[in-house]
Structure formats: C-alpha cells, structure tokens
C-alpha cells in the first residue's frame, strides 16, 4: 500500500453543465511509468489541471503519498511534489536555458536564501547561486542540454524545448512528474531519444511518471500501465497491451 504514490478517488469536474471529467480512479505506484491516453477532448489535460491545482475538482479527491492535496493552490501542490510540463510549451522564453532550470530550483530547501540576503549581497547569496548553478548543470546534462545552457529558451528547436520543460519540472525535485504530450512534434529519432531520457529519469531519480501521449508506439514502448479516457470517463485501465487492445478503446479511436 505504501508504495502507491498517487491515488485519485472519483475525481471529476464539470464546467457549467458539462461534465468534463468524471469518476477517474487512478493508482500509480512508485517508479511506475503510467500512461493517460484517449482521443482529443477526452479530458486528459483536464486531469492534469486537476492534479496540479489549476482547477479545483467538483467531485472526488486525490492523494500524494497518502496526503490529500485537494483544495491546495498550484504553488502548494508543486511544493508537495507534483511537477508538470505543458502541452503547449510554457517556457520562460526570454530567459536562457539554464535560468529556466534555475527557476525550477527556486524552492529547494538547500537553496533557500532570504531576499534581503540577496539585496545586501551577503556571502550566503553567492554560496547559494554557485550551488544552484552546479545543480542546474547536472539536470541539464540529463536531458542533453548542457551545451545549450546559455542560449535563449525561445531559440531552441521544438524538441529541445520539450526536453527543457522536463528538465525544469525535474528541477523542482518532484515525487510525481506529469508529462503532457512530451513527444508531440518530435521526429522518430527524437522520440527514441526522449524515451531513453524518460527511462533514465525514472531510474536515476526513482521517479514516478504520469504521461499523456498520442503516439501509441511511445506509450506501449514506455508505459507499465495505461488508463484510457473518453468523454471524460475511464474507458479502460490495465497494462499497455491490454488497454490499447480493448475493443471499446479501438472503437473510440477508429469509430464504429
């Protein structure tokens, strides 16, 4: 029981009369790579938004390592250990690559630094900055972006921007990493590379990862377990092969 990282109970939200998501029950175990798939508009990103506090659920609740996080703000949830990437990339475009990651490191206990320490340039400031830089470089190394660290985020090619988002999320030292379509817009070669990185993150950091993806090869090649959503409800759950070959799922994707 204790190795369940994320548990949702009957999670749901409705906008006006529209039930965007309802009755989602997930159980994600430690170090699991968990996929969330479904056709467009199935409510996948909405689930992410619920889990990160962008929306507040109208029904149900969710727990991270047994602690209820419903009702917390985005900032609080991030500090509790859920980090995410965005479907439409949301980098800090006018900052260099390394600074994007440094922002991710902002709340780490080891890098605490009172604003007044920085204002008055006490030695603590320099110590923290140097440590943060070292750590940021380490993280960038994992996603192969160390060389690019002084480039502007907005000047990176698309695939690298996606990787930078992952690095930035990783920098917040999460227990659970939510990746929203990480392979979207990547060519097969880049996708391969990304799969390797995701596995490496899981192994190196003992990370639990929940990801949304349309690329079925990516999902089936990577995920241990999969939940299929359609019209906001769970259509199928199980191992990647089971779920994706479920006749209901095939119907939902291909139509009647």
């Amino acid at each position: 029981m204790s190795d369940i990282v994320l548990r949702t109970e009957d999670l749901g939200i409705s906008f006006g009369g529209l039930k965007a998501v309802q009755g989602v029950n997930l159980e994600i175990k430690k170090k699991q790579l968990y996929g969330l798939v479904g056709p467009n508009g199935a409510g996948k990103t909405t689930v992410f938004n619920l889990l990160t506090g962008v929306y507040q659920p109208t029904t149900g609740t969710f727990y991270l390592n047994g602690e209820e996080l419903k009702g917390k703000t985005q900032e609080q949830i991030n500090r509790k250990g859920i980090a995410r990437t965005f479907q439409n990339i949301r980098l800090f475009n006018n900052m260099s690559v390394i600074r994007n990651v440094l922002v991710g490191l902002h709340n780490q206990k080891e890098f605490k630094c009172n604003p007044f320490v920085s204002l008055f340039r006490l030695p603590g400031h320099y110590k923290t900055e140097a440590k943060m830089r070292e750590r940021a470089k380490e993280i960038l190394r994992i996603v192969d972006l160390e060389e690019e660290r002084n480039n502007l985020a907005c000047n990176l090619p698309y695939g690298k921007q996606r990787k930078l988002e992952i690095a930035r999320a990783l920098a917040t030292n999460p227990t659970l990493l939510l990746l929203d379509e990480p392979a979207a817009g990547m060519n097969p070669h880049e996708t391969e590379d990304l799969m390797r990185i995701v596995r490496k993150i899981r192994d190196d950091f003992d990370m639990t990862i929940l990801l949304i993806e349309h690329d079925m090869k990516f999902v089936s090649g990577l995920c241990d377990e999969v939940t299929v959503l359609n019209f906001g409800t769970v259509l199928a759950q199980g191992t990647a092969n089971e779920a994706l070959n479920d006749p209901e799922v095939i119907k939902a994707y291909i139509g009647e």
Binding site: T58, N78, F92, V103, N107, L119, R121, P123, Y126, T128
Partner: protein, 386 residues
C-alpha cells in the same frame, strides 16, 4: 568562497559599469562644484535627474521585470513627498543638520510609501493588465485628492517646506541624491540578479508556468510593489527637500505617465536604459522650458509629443524594422565587436526592449479567473437532476 564571489555575474564589467560611470560623473561634478564652476541651475537640474532616475528605475521593477502596468507611480512619490517632508520638518526642530533630517525622513517617507505599495499590490494579485493600470491610476488620484484636502498639509496651498529645503548655503542636494541613486541601483540590480529576480521575471514571462514551478507569486508581486513604492517614496522626499511648497498638482497621472515614458523609451527591463531615458527626458524638458520663451511655451508639448510618437513608431513599427536594422547603433557596435552575429540576432536579443512581451499582452488581460483566491469555480450541478 571569495573566488566564487569574484566569478559571479556581479563583477563582470558590463554589470557594474553603471556604478562606475555614475560614481565617476559624481566625482567630476563635485570637483566642479567645489571649484565654483557648476551653475546653480545645473546643480538643480541634477537633482531633478537624480530623482527621475530613482523613479524610472523603481517603476521599471514593476513594469519591466514584474510585467504589471502601473500608472500610479506619482502617487507613491506623493506619499513620500508629503509625509516624508512633513516628518523632516518636525525633525528639524530637534535636529540641526538638514542632511540628517533628510536621511531619516527618506527612510520614513520610503517606508510609508511602501505601506501604500503593499495596499496597491493587493489588487495586483487579482487584476492584470489594463485593469491593474486603471486601479493604480485611481490610487494615484485618490492619494492626491486626500492630500489636497487635509488641513495638516496646507490643503490646496500645499505643504511649505522652506524650513528643510536645501538652499545654496547647504550641502548640494545633488550629491546626496546621486549617492542615493547608487544605493538604489545597488539594491535593484542585486534583486534582479538573484534567484528572486529570476522568480520575478519568470512570473512576467509566464505566470502559469511560474506557479507550476512553485514560485510564490503572491509574495513576489507584493514584494516588487513594496520595493518600488519605497524608492518612489524616497524620490518624493527628495522632491520635498528640493522645492517648496509640495503641491498636489505635481503628482497627477500625467507625471506617472511621464515616468512610464522614461521606462518604455529606456527599454522595459533595462535598468541602464531607464537611467539614460530618465536623464534625457529631464534634460529635454529643461532645455525646452529654458529655450522656449513666452508664447512659444505651448510648442514644448508639441515637440515633446512628436519626439515621443516618432521614437515609439520608429522603434516598434514592424514595417520599419529593416530600416532600423541598417541604422541601429547597436548593430554597428556589435558588428565591430563580434563578427559572426547577424543583425537579426542582435536585434532579437531579448535585452532589447520591444521584443519583450510583457503580460500586458491584451489577449491575456481578460483571463482573470486563475488568480489565487479566485480559482475557477464551476457552476454547481443543477440540483435535483432531471
């Protein structure tokens, strides 16, 4: 340890050149002054330049770095000018030295303005863009209206500050102002070049992502408003010691806009730009006032307006950018220093102000429902169910 400090960005020449330039200018001016070569008009102009720089740099924190449009900066200055100078006048009964009165009242005026900054910062948590702009404008006008009617501050007559005003016999005020400029610069640059500055610019660049990174948006927004208000209050205290009487008319929204113009012309998020623009605009105003006698005074605004429109259109019009590329001084300098950069790259440098999208992007203005305390609350499902 020392090595890491020396290696940090603070000690790169391009990051501390502004301290050196200002300090050098100050030393030269002090020498000139002591030699009797500096006219009173220039000494006074320097005071104006000094407090304009403080205002522009502090507003840049809000507009350029936090990305919130504020049209009420003169309001904070007003608080500092009235309350700070009032305190200074009370102190002058006890303390003989005007300089010490000034220093104490700078702190007090700044702190009082900071309290107002906190109050204005609160709506900033819920409002964005133009909505915040009109609230800050409203705040400035409210402050002004209240001060113009309070009997302790001379009502519409204004607060006579003759007792603490710096005269020709005192320490030249410009020296204190410019030392303060250096101190303000020290604090502002330190803030910007720290993890906190990164968090602030992250909020500007993408507030949602910043929240998802766990940045405490509430804290940083308030923090920036408070700091900026503090410095504006200090500028106000200087104003009160520079001229008498302190009158509400000076602090109208037109003045807030003038400060904003300094920030925008200097470059959003560029501190050196703000310093240069504040200096230039103050000098232009001075020259126009001095050189256009009598009937031609109305021409001043005409010229000012044309310069303003011209610069903004030239700097921003998408169609003019090829011409600008050819003429840009920046490109020229960059070409001389590094040969392998293309003009487009140099101009697309994000340090160049017109390329920084601030959150004032109008399309985002109306999306107010994601603010803390105002999370999207879906309609309750129809009761009873059909």
């Amino acid at each position: 340890m020392i090595k890491s400090i020396l290696k940090s960005d603070d000690f790169k020449i391009k990051n501390c050149i502004n301290y050196m330039v200002i300090a050098a200018a100050l030393v030269v001016l002090v020498v000139l002054y002591n030699a009797g070569e500096l006219k009173a008009s220039y000494a006074n102009l320097l005071v104006q330049i000094g407090y304009s720089i403080i205002l522009a740099v502090s507003l840049n924190l809000v507009v350029g770095f936090l990305g919130e449009l504020s049209l009420g900066h003169a309001g904070f200055m007003c608080v500092g000018a009235y309350l700070g100078t009032f305190i200074s006048m009370q102190l002058s009964d006890v303390i003989e030295s005007k300089v010490i009165c000034l220093l104490i009242s700078m702190l007090c005026g700044g702190l009082l303005a900071a309290i107002f900054g906190f109050l204005v910062g609160l709506p900033a948590l819920r409002l964005k863009g133009d909505y915040l702009a009109i609230v800050t404008l409203a705040f400035g006008e409210i402050v002004r209206t209240v001060f113009k009617n309070l009997p302790w501050f001379g009502k519409a007559m204004g607060l006579t500050t003759g007792a603490v005003k710096f005269t020709k016999k005192d320490t030249p005020l410009f020296i204190i102002v410019f030392i303060t400029v250096l101190v303000v610069l020290f604090f502002v640059q330190n803030l910007v070049r720290s993890k906190h500055g990164r968090a602030i610019t992250a909020i500007r660049d993408n507030e949602i992502a910043a929240k998802a990174m766990g940045i405490n948006v509430t804290f940083y927004k308030l923090f920036v408003f408070v700091i900026a208000a503090f410095f504006a209050g200090v500028a106000g205290v200087f104003y009160g010691h520079y001229t008498t009487p302190v009158m509400y008319t000076f602090f109208s929204y037109n003045y807030s806009i003038e400060i904003l113009v300094m920030v925008v012309l200097g470059g959003m998020g560029s501190i050196n730009g703000s310093i240069i623009a504040a200096t230039l605009i103050t000098v232009i105003n001075y020259i126009l006032q001095k050189e256009l006698p009598g009937e031609l005074a109305a021409l001043k605004f005409l010229i000012y307006a044309l310069i303003l429109i011209g610069i903004v259109i030239f700097n921003n019009a998408p169609k003019l950018s090829p011409i600008k590329e050819r003429l840009s001084l920046k490109v020229l300098i960059a070409k001389l220093t590094s040969k392998n950069r293309k003009p487009e790259d140099i101009l697309n440098d994000p340090a160049h102000w017109d390329k920084i999208p601030t959150k004032i992007a109008m399309d985002e203005v109306l999306s107010t429902d994601l603010q803390p305390g105002n999370e999207y609350v879906p309609d309750k499902p129809a009761k009873g169910g059909k």
